[in-house]
């Protein structure tokens, strides 16, 4: 993948308030306490990994942020504004993009369309209905932007293919391309490297390091080498609770983490329990 000089740019106008702040969040599914008084924050420009065994509540945390599940109690603030109660489809405009553990590609749309649809910018209904020049212009801009992003991810050649005909590794890049199309300020990735080859994992790590200059990234992932390579901070969840939080080195050395998680065999990710 082509490297660009973006790593050197400094973030402009960085604010001291966190991008995402979760306070005492509790989510219950019937008798299951999926999240138990979880508090965490993600600051601007940070790459934060959320790790923990299967069923720890990682996906549920993302679902609560995105409005797919209703927390029993607690608070989620995004850039200082309360986020709870916001309909999922409004998040994209607020600058939050998320990939699903189950990918969520639309099989009936080409790769190109799958990516274009990720943009917050789209021609209006009337302008599309009448095929006004403005709709053609916006569509052309979106197509060229999608093409750039696909190119940056090394999959421009698949633009006109349909996603389910493609190798899994390509599908995972398409879904990241869709999220990037929205130019988010907070990117939530749910298990982005599960099922990828070692080479693909390295490339994705490189990409995330580039992205950090433009957005903060929260990654749920099992793959520890990947997590250690990309994160500024790691948050460890276990049975719905935050049991540790710190730099990759601190987490590696934390005895509690070792017994709860790292000491065990790394569980293989299962098919999703997304939204």
């Amino acid at each position: 993948m082509e490297k660009r000089g973006e790593g050197k740019e400094e973030r402009v106008g960085e604010l001291s308030r966190p991008t995402l702040e979760v306070v005492d969040l509790t989510v219950r599914f019937g008798g299951i306490l999926a999240l138990d008084q979880v508090s965490l924050r993600i600051d601007a420009g940070e790459v934060v990994a959320i790790i923990g065994p299967n069923g720890a509540g990682k996906t549920t945390l993302f679902n609560a942020v995105c409005g797919f599940v209703r927390p029993g109690s607690g608070r989620i603030d995004y850039r200082g504004e309360p986020l709870l109660g916001t309909a999922p489809h409004r998040l994209a405009r607020l600058g939050i993009a998320r990939t699903l553990q189950s990918l969520g590609l639309w099989p009936g749309l080409s790769v190109q369309e799958n990516v274009v649809a990720g943009s917050n910018r789209r021609p209006g209904f009337v302008s599309s209905l009448l095929a006004l020049p403005s709709s053609d212009r916006i569509e052309a801009e979106l197509a060229s932007k999608a093409h750039d992003i696909l190119g940056r991810l090394g999959i421009a050649g698949y633009a006109s293919a349909y996603p389910l005909t493609l190798p899994y590794g390509v599908q995972k890049r398409v879904i990241i391309a869709r999220a990037l199309m929205a130019e988010p300020s907070l990117l939530l990735l749910d298990e982005p490297v599960s099922g990828l080859s070692a080479e693909d994992i390295d490339e994705l790590a490189g990409l995330i390091k580039q992205l950090r200059t433009r957005m903060c990234v929260a990654v749920v992932e099992h793959h520890l080498d990947f997590v250690m390579a990309i994160s500024d901070r790691i948050i460890v969840l276990n049975v719905g609770r935050v049991i540790a939080s710190g730099t990759p080195k601190e987490i590696r050395d934390d005895p509690q983490v070792a017994t709860a998680y790292l000491g065990e065999d790394v569980p293989t990710p299962e098919a999703s329990s997304d939204a």
């Binding site: 489809h89 409004r90 998040l91 190109q112 649809a117 789209r122």
Partner: protein, 362 residues
């Protein structure tokens, strides 16, 4: 050669111009055709155009947005009754005004049903729309003084304008109206499907959670699809009223709704061209089968049921031979031809967004 090519490219570079060219071409061919054929075939051409309008709306809802409606016959009835009631009191109202009011009235009813439908999924939605199909004709029977009960309302034909001459056949005039309505409908739908709304419809059909995360308002998209689809059904119903000359509950039974579903499946689910193929099948196959049945001499008990049996048989065979419908089969044949010519199997054009491509594997 290059200069010619680039001028041609520029001419079709705009979506509107490209779609207008196709629409005008289709309209001219059909109008010329209508002048060559007799009154009976003009009558059948009108029927194809009417079903094509309804089927195009239904394929948008069911094929592209994934909402199964078994009640589209009832939505056609709303258009037809609106037209009939308008003409009962205002005989002289211009056709275009009558059609537009019928479109709006079906669209407004579509908003109400769309909101209900957006809360329902799969079998529940099918059940609700089925109820609509069964219940709505009952309203006409119940409120006899307004809707004319079982015998219905008669619809005065639309007289051809004077400039066409005194002896211009009314069947041909109606065919022109229906063809024009169908072409405009296809043009507008094709525009929508080429752009963001088309993507939103399919995205919601394929994965609602992912659509919401991409900023698409799922419920609003579903209501929108329902309203557009209902408006198309209303237009088809209004034309149907002119075409049949009478609007009665029997004309809008459940079987009409099921025929429309058959048409879009046979034609190729989710494709506008497929809606047209399906409508042609819907109109001409029964004519063909009843012709066949009457040509062999059989006891009437058998002969009466033969057309339906043959019709059913043809549909079953069609689905086995072409599971993606007629349009899907044509697309495959064209793709094989193209690959042979270019020696590039599969082939991947860049940036080509095929607006009426049904989902592969759906």
């Amino acid at each position: 050669m290059v200069a010619v090519r680039s001028r041609a490219d520029r001419l079709v570079a705009s979506t509107l111009r490209r779609h207008l060219l196709i629409a005008l071409g289709a309209a001219v061919v059909l109008l010329l055709l209508s002048a060559q054929i007799g009154a009976y075939d003009d009558y059948n051409l009108t029927a194809v155009a009417i079903f094509a309008v309804a089927a195009a709306g239904l394929t948008l809802l069911t094929g592209l947005n994934g909402q199964l409606s078994l009640g589209h016959g009832a939505l056609m009835a709303i258009g037809a009754y609106t037209t009939s009631l308008l003409l009962k009191d205002h005989r002289q109202l211009p056709v275009i005004v009558v059609l537009l009011i019928s479109v709006v009235s079906a669209g407004v009813i579509g908003i109400a049903f769309g909101y209900a439908a957006a809360r329902l999924r799969g079998p529940y939605l099918a059940g609700a729309t089925l109820t609509l199909a069964v219940a709505l004709p009952q309203v006409a029977t119940r409120y006899k003084s307004i809707f004319g009960g079982e015998s219905g309302l008669t619809v005065p034909p639309s007289a051809p304008p004077d400039w066409l001459g005194a002896d211009f056949p009314p069947e041909r005039w109606l065919a022109w109206i229906a063809v024009a309505a169908a072409v405009v409908t296809m043009l507008l739908l094709a525009n929508l499907l080429r752009s963001a709304p088309g993507r939103a419809f399919k995205a919601v059909r394929d994965n609602e959670a992912a659509a919401a995360l991409a900023g698409i308002d799922v419920a609003r998209t579903q209501v929108l699809a329902f309203v557009i689809s209902a408006a198309c059904a209303g237009l088809a119903g209004a034309l149907f009223a002119y075409w049949s000359g009478i609007t009665s509950p029997a004309g809008f039974s459940l079987s009409l709704s099921l025929q429309l579903i058959t048409a879009i499946v046979i034609g190729g689910l989710g494709s506008l061209a497929g809606a047209v193929w399906g409508s042609i099948v819907l109109v001409f196959v029964p004519l063909l089968t009843s012709g066949l049945a009457s040509s062999v001499h059989l006891p009437s008990a058998v002969a009466d049921n033969l057309p339906l049996a043959i019709y059913g048989g043809i549909l079953v065979i069609a689905m086995l031979v072409a599971p993606h419908g007629i349009q899907g089969a044509l697309r495959r044949i064209l793709a094989i031809g193209r690959a042979r010519r270019e020696h590039t199997p599969g082939g991947g054009q860049k940036g080509v967004v095929d607006w009426d491509d049904p989902a592969p594997g759906t």
